[in-house]
Subunit: 414 residues, 2 copies
């Protein structure tokens, strides 16, 4: 059979070496299913980047598949046969000239993750996480979710033929429960937050062999997310932008981007100043923003989390200390925006540039405007807004009551 | 500014020569805005394929942008500066091993157009149509739509800064009116069908300078759609599949695919038997299926069109004679499936392969099963199902009422 372009490049070699704890330094084998370190910290994948640097050139990427598996050497899946793909990644990077003029940012860009399978960036983490679980012999998965991760993992678990149990807040977007149900996941709602869902899934683990795939409780989801930064680098011709604005719930994406920057430097594929990593949260749930402002190393559990951006309704992220480190080490910042600003930014971007983004992405748009106004960004800074998903998953956020004409009617006026 | 990969390759030369009427043979200039031929037929773009064959090789495509503008020479936009893009095209082509086993089709594939901006294949036609309108000096657009085209054209018109008036049936999917409104289109609903919307837009044209961008009433939308076949060819290493199954409303996609096959042959990039082009409609609106069965050259207006697949609710397509010609000349067929079959196929594909497709795409899945059972397809035929959009635009088609657990609840049973 002819191997079509969407598949992984074959043959490939993953340069994965081991798992490492970024808090206590412990190293453990990457070739058995693993969750967190004994000290409670998430584990990170480490690669033999010296060997990769000797063997690989960024020019090798030209002509590779238009999905995240183009970076197979820097991903943890060793056997191409284990790859579970729906064609995720290699998403558009769009210049925003009109919105940029409004914001006085003449080099403003949108990395549009809405073009992924399942309509969000969660597809990246799910593709790599499910693939690696399959490769390591996992036979069932369980996870709590704020919504979109559950939809994505349900799709990839179905594609892999793995059963998945997923628990999400009752007020998660309606589309997410439908995604989970239609793809056959064993789905539950909880009258609470993602933290409550997490406790239920953890208790369930005591009487189940299903592998715990909660955010940062397995080390591979982040490897999928890091490919956003690999793509930004390649799409900009290996010149990193001045800043990347990221809407942070669990924060896996920003940790992944930060990790990718380190790996790209070790490979010698990028050099110079790292982009400032900017974290955006909602005013109604801003544990990372408060921790950043206070100079704290970790965040406090946010009481009464409330925002229309469901993906930002995460009161305490397991990787909060890593997010804060990434933001500080790159000279970034953390800002909170209101739900009203989110809705204004969503409408403005749609009318100016045609892109209807999710509320989390709209929060990043609002932050771009705010940070230019404050002088944090200069007018010529190259700024990338990371839009984590498509607006079409949130129809209820847009009111549309166009006039109804009779069958033989006329357009009024004019 | 560094030119990122998503943009068009520069410099490029469009090999567009003129517009030609496929019914009466009339040739007219391609460099003024044009609608249909004097004889009433749609017009098709013709290219200088001899020159293109001499200048271009399919190997030139390696390393090009991961969107449909990788085929810029075979598209009508002459000036890269006129290109209006949201990153459309270069969508995944996915092998379906599990569903294939169910259907006894061991080489079954899904071309997943749900990964386009706006979540459907309509983005392709809108990108090329809006770009070319902009290039030719059009200052406003008007169109009727069954729904998704309106959403896509609204997005690209906003991206281009062109005003758009759009009229859609009141029972078009709710998401489509939201897409149009959020991106700023002047949006109307009609208490009728797309044909009624078309009449209203046509009458409006008498007192407006807005350019008529209705299906096949301008010659460039089809050029965007044809890139689906260019991609299938390239993704399969220039070996065309045995069959392509396409859900036909207005039928522009299938005409575009047929046109692309001719162009690829003229370029010498593909050879051998053309894939059989299979058209799928819904039992409740099957004018092309009836015309095919009766050996008619054109279809009759279908009275009382009714199906849950809104994109198939087109009672009479302007390009019906071209669709029928494409199906017959390639040894294809035309089949109608019921709404119940559509829903079963949607659920089956989602559970077996993780892809949640739109009802129109699900109709093509149902047709694949039906045509294998009838013996029209052999077990080893390479069959491509063209999924025109994502299922997430149709949340109401999936019922999801998972159990609700209390905040401190437990997963039942086990």
């Amino acid at each position: 059979m002819v191997q079509p372009v969407p598949a992984v490049p074959r043959p490939h070699r993953s340069y994965l070496s081991f798992l490492e704890c970024p808090r206590c330094g412990e190293r453990i084998s990457a070739d058995r299913p693993a969750n967190v370190c004994g000290c409670g910290s998430p584990l990170l994948c480490r690669y033999d980047l010296e060997a990769a640097r000797a063997d690989l050139s960024r020019d090798d990427l030209a002509g590779r598949p238009g999905n995240l598996w183009r970076y197979a050497e820097l991903l943890p899946v060793r056997d191409a046969g284990a790859i579970v793909t729906l064609g995720e990644g290699w998403t558009p990077l769009l210049h925003l000239p009109r919105l940029g003029r409004r914001f006085d940012l003449d080099d403003l860009w949108l990395k549009d993750e809405g073009c992924n399978p399942t309509g969000t960036f969660k597809a990246r983490g799910a593709a790599v996480g499910v693939s690696r679980a399959l490769e390591l012999g996992v036979t069932a998965l369980r996870m709590p979710t704020a919504g979109n991760a559950g939809g994505a993992w349900a799709a990839y678990a179905a594609r892999a033929g793995l059963p998945l149990l997923v628990v999400m807040p009752q007020d998660a977007p309606a589309i997410n429960r439908r995604e989970a149900v239609v793809t056959g996941a064993d789905t539950y709602l909880v009258d609470g937050l993602i933290s409550d869902a997490g406790a239920i899934v953890a208790r369930y683990g005591a009487r189940s062999t299903a592998f715990d795939a909660a955010t940062l409780r397995e080390p591979y989801r982040i490897e999928g997310k890091k490919t956003m930064a690999l793509e930004i680098a390649e799409q900009f011709g290996w010149e990193m932008p001045d800043a990347i604005i990221y809407p942070a719930g669990g924060g896996v994406g920003i940790i992944g981007i930060w990790k990718a920057l380190q790996e790209l430097e070790a490979l010698g594929w990028i050099r110079g100043r790292r982009p400032r990593l900017v974290v955006v949260q909602a005013e109604g749930c801003r544990p990372l923003v408060e921790a950043f402002a206070q100079g704290a190393e970790a965040s406090e559990f946010w009481q009464g989390a409330a925002t229309l951006a469901a993906g930002l309704r995460v009161p305490k992220a397991l990787g909060d200390f890593l997010v804060l480190r990434a933001v500080r080490e790159t000279g970034g910042t953390a800002v909170a925006v209101s739900d009203a600003e989110i809705m204004d930014a969503m409408g403005l971007l749609a009318r100016q540039e045609g892109a209807w983004v999710c509320p989390e992405g709209a929060a990043a748009v609002a932050a771009a405007q705010r940070l230019r106004a404050s002088g944090f960004f200069g007018a010529h800074d190259r700024v990338v807004i990371l839009n984590t998903g498509t607006g079409i998953k949130y129809p209820d956020l847009v009111t549309a009551t166009p006039p109804v004409l009779p069958r033989d009617g006329e357009i009024p006026g004019a």
